[in-house]
Point group: C2
Chain length 158, copies 2
DNA sequence: GTTCCAAACGAAACAAACTTGCATTTCAAG
DNA sequence: CTTGAAATGCAAGTTTGTTTCGTTTGGAAC
């Protein structure tokens, strides 16, 4: 990846705020971190250009848009041949219900975070994604009873 | 939670856009969904008030702010007594490095997503969080080699 | 079918926020 | 002490967000 010019205390303070609320006016941010609004704006722009800020998005409550069920899936594959792994990555990533997908070490090869409306939908998904895939050896399902903490926030403290 | 007035096609279209980029001007959104800017603005405000939109945040690249390692942890507890579970939830949620925490059914009780700078940091974290906690029976670690798909996006299509 | 009401809409005026230009400051290197 | 690159703050200019207001739409009651 591109080199990341190291962040100073201002950048980190700004990032900490933006990760909680990126609708906050730059003037307000400026007051919070002791900088003028244009200075804040230039720093944000730079961090967006360098990819430190990957995106600006709205977080929606899954339950309120008809996806009350969150499920973790550990997937174990038959073969770890590179092209098969890549195919699996692309296949998982292409599914909207697969919110997150990680290729991991340990007793599983992939871990997926899935969001669905009903268990019937999940069952249908497993059929499409796992049973219909020769390279999937087995998978284990964990249904979330409580989403204790969710988000994508990364600590930036010093 | 509060009842969610069902969303129409406009709301869903707006949500789909905002989940990808909430910095997009309301005028542009309006053109995309065939609505005036004020109409878009009113719908967004309503969805924020009803909690459909939980937050507006910036997504930062963990690697570029010094947290190149993402780890999944399955935690199994000794006792599932309600107050102990609640204590565990609060304990995990309070840790900045614990980016996500779910209370789940299945062969584990909790699944955590952890982000750290080094494996030494993770080792220190396990000591604080698991070994020092009498109620943690065992835990299993999965280190992410590839963050194939990340985010909090929820499908809103119809 | 008509009336009525509530909800949502768009156009335009208005307010707030973002963005740019520019002179100044800062700070490290020479 | 001087210099130059980088960052800053102020103020003007531009874009975007927000409110107002009159109109339209879609039902429900009659």
């Amino acid at each position: 990846m591109s080199i990341s010019p190291d962040l100073d205390a201002f950048d980190r303070a700004i990032l900490a705020l933006l990760q909680k609320d990126n609708a906050m006016p730059q003037r307000t941010i400026g007051e919070a971190v002791n900088l003028s609004a244009p200075a804040v704006q230039r720093r944000i722009k730079r961090m967006e250009e360098t990819g430190i800020i990957r995106a600006n998005v709205a977080l929606v409550d899954p339950a309120k848009v008809g996806h009350p069920i969150t499920i973790f899936v550990e997937v174990e594959v038959e073969s770890e041949r590179a092209e098969l792994i890549d195919a699996a990555k692309r296949g998982f990533a292409a599914v909207p219900e697969v919110q997150q997908c990680y290729y991991v070490t340990g007793e599983a090869d992939f871990i997926l975070v899935v969001t669905v409306a009903t268990m019937a939908d999940y069952e249908a998904l497993t059929r499409r994604l796992f049973f219909a895939n020769n390279n999937v050896k087995r998978f284990r399902t964990f249904v979330a009873m409580d989403r204790v903490k969710v988000g994508m926030e990364v600590p930036v403290g010093r």
